[in-house]
């Protein structure tokens, strides 16, 4: 079987540097839209193989690594939720939707607090890489249906498990009513995403602010993570005076919910929440605002001559 041709460019967005952008404004004159995206995940103990990626680095069952992830659901998520609730910060949950089946009490707690659920696929051990288009469609329908059944919410956002995508993925998502993707890291502001149908945008998520990458890949301490969040916020808050910025803090309860990490994290969130020109939003609220008020102007700017 020959492989599908590869493209040299993703072709998902245009090059529009800051001087060419229309100004972005947020509600109530806020400079910065701040959102927190906890990844609430279910990793299977004995998942099937995928040639592109297998979660576990040891043969199944990888008790140590599975147990570490599961700490998030048994312990970490409850601590993380309490910290956020105390500060009045809602989460936008990047949800492996199988959590709705395995651990509905976690979903209920999030919904009681008015949190958004968006898609992080079905399990964190199943990836779209190597799926046929039909399989990918079936997986997307499963996600949309499961979130609707569990919450009544129409899913608006998407973060692929392990950030795997196929060339057609964004088109399929737009076709299924997805309004924002978190898989693109090209900007600090929302941008339009080019899809065959629908209106879809990219909402800045972050690799830099992502707890798992900070702790386990950059190998930083919990206190350094707190300092990084504040520094990221200070800079984007300042720049947001010119044109509204977005800051996301992506979380994994099995990391941030460890007892030795909670306090510096809570202190950093508190620092952000104390500023008055911050819009404490969900991913969907940012996406809707942008799609309704700024999306068309951004598309027009991209098409303007002299680019």
């Amino acid at each position: 079987m020959s492989e599908a041709p590869r493209r040299a460019e993703p072709g998902l967005y245009d090059f529009v540097p800051p001087p060419k952008r229309p100004r972005i404004t947020w509600p109530n004159g806020a400079r910065l839209a701040f959102w927190v995206a906890p990844n609430i995940e279910f990793y299977e103990l004995d998942p099937p193989p995928n040639a592109a990626r297998n979660m576990w680095t040891r043969p199944n069952p990888d008790a140590m690594n599975y147990g570490w992830r599961e700490f998030g659901n048994r312990v970490g998520v409850w601590r993380m939720i309490d910290v956020m609730a105390a500060l009045g910060i809602r989460g936008s949950v990047s949800l492996n939707v199988a959590i709705c089946d395995h651990h509905p009490e976690i979903v209920r707690r999030c919904l009681d607090l008015g949190w958004e659920l968006f898609s992080h696929g079905v399990y964190n051990t199943r990836f779209v890489a190597n799926m046929s288009e039909e399989q990918e469609r079936a997986m997307i329908r499963d996600v949309v249906d499961t979130i609707r059944r569990a919450s009544g919410q129409q899913v608006e956002g998407w973060l692929s498990p392990a950030l795997y995508n196929n060339d057609r993925t964004m088109d399929l998502l737009a076709e299924h009513g997805i309004r924002y993707t978190c898989d693109l890291f090209h900007d600090d502001q929302p941008t339009p995403v080019r899809t065959k149908t629908g209106r879809m945008c990219s909402i800045p998520y972050s690799l830099e602010m992502n707890d798992i990458l900070v702790y386990a890949r950059q190998m930083q301490t919990p206190r350094e993570y707190g300092r990084m969040i504040k520094a990221q916020f200070d800079q984007l808050y300042e720049e947001g005076a010119e044109s509204g910025t977005v800051m996301c803090v992506p979380l994994h309860p099995y990391m941030v919910g460890q007892a030795h990490r909670l306090e510096p994290f809570a202190e950093a969130l508190d620092y952000v929440a104390r500023h008055d020109k911050v819009w404490l939003a969900t991913g969907a609220e940012i996406a809707r605002w942008y799609l309704d008020r700024h999306f068309d102007a951004a598309v027009a700017a991209a098409r303007a001559p002299g680019g």
């Binding site: 299977e44 099937p48 043969p59 409850w78 395995h102 190597n130 799926m131 399989q135 190998m219 919990p222």
Partner: protein, 308 residues
């Protein structure tokens, strides 16, 4: 490489866990634990005393701290031996100065090679926990059940004989298991296992492992992760020890007793420049009221004695 239809079938997608080794149990739903002496925190210090053979095969994966360099990897071999000769005694002196006892996970190879160390560890009042045969014999699903049964039997019996202790606890080398490990541990009279870092409290295992308990043996709050893998300074590690204690101590006031577990490896934490910050972090914990220092077996017994 197309995926089969079964890639989108999920036979275990339903309430609770996707396996039968233990039940789903979110921490807030647990009955509050009462530790002896009304303590809020059971302070469980863990040492890991390992033997990495020079002819390491590193299959099916390189164990953390394993001999990663070309044979003969004297760098890593002798560094581990530094731990077993010098570092472990520096840690024992530190613990004794603080009045602390520990649980010491040992490969059976330690008993074969250094019987004095096993006897002396027991004599000093520390608990000995079995940690397989050596770091070259990992437990994994590619291992025939008979071979694994033999490994576990050798490990447990060797350490029981050498220490004179019951040896009730088990940690697999590198915390790696096969699907058979938990059931085999039960066959060998093991009471608690430390391979699943998914909780801050003990909890019962089920199915083939019924009768065993899982214990919250620290992976993240260990010198192996913080110092060796993540390159934090010892002061930064000590800060995290203090931060963990403060949060658990506060949580325990509202929700019942917690276990604070700290894992140290003699070849890492036992280096001269690392002792002082670690000792000071432990000393600061001990200045708080409501801290009960205990071994794994003592924590397990207190947990099992909780009124139903």
């Amino acid at each position: 490489m197309a995926l089969p239809e079964s890639y989108l079938q999920y036979p275990r997608r339903g309430p609770g866990m996707d396996h039968d080794f233990y039940a789903w149990s979110p921490l807030p739903n647990r009955k509050p634990i009462r530790w002896p002496q009304g303590a809020r925190i059971a302070l469980w210090v863990n040492l890991t005393v390992e033997h990495f053979p020079l002819d390491a095969v590193n299959k099916p994966f390189l164990p953390p701290g394993g001999l990663e360099r070309a044979y003969p990897d004297l760098w890593n071999y002798t560094l581990h031996d530094y731990g077993n000769r010098v570092g472990v005694y520096r840690l024992y002196r530190m613990l004794e100065g603080l009045g602390l006892k520990a649980t010491v996970a040992m490969n059976a190879a330690i008993a074969d090679r250094y019987p004095f160390l096993v006897q002396d560890t027991a004599r000093r009042g520390h608990e000995i926990m079995a940690c397989g045969v050596d770091m070259n014999r990992l437990h994994h699903s590619g291992l025939a059940i008979e071979r694994e049964r033999e490994s576990i039997g050798t490990s447990v019996e060797t350490l029981r004989r050498a220490s004179g202790q019951k040896v009730r606890g088990w940690m697999s080398p590198a915390k790696a298991e096969s699907f058979n490990t938990l059931g085999l541990l039960r066959e060998h009279g093991i009471d608690y296992v430390c391979d699943w870092p998914n909780d801050d409290l003990p909890y019962p295992l089920t199915g083939p492992a019924a009768g065993l308990h899982a214990m919250p043996h620290a992976s993240e709050l260990s010198d192996l992760w913080c110092l060796h893998q993540w390159h934090h300074t010892t002061d930064e590690f000590a800060q995290q020890i203090g931060d963990q204690f403060r949060l658990l101590h506060a949580e325990a006031a509202k929700s019942g007793g917690r276990v604070m577990s700290l894992t140290l490896h003699p070849w890492i934490a036992g280096q001269p420049h690392r002792i002082r910050p670690i000792r000071e972090a432990l000393a600061a914990i001990l200045r708080h009221a409501g801290v009960w220092n205990a071994t794994g077996a003592e924590i397990l017994d207190a947990f099992k004695a909780q009124p139903g």
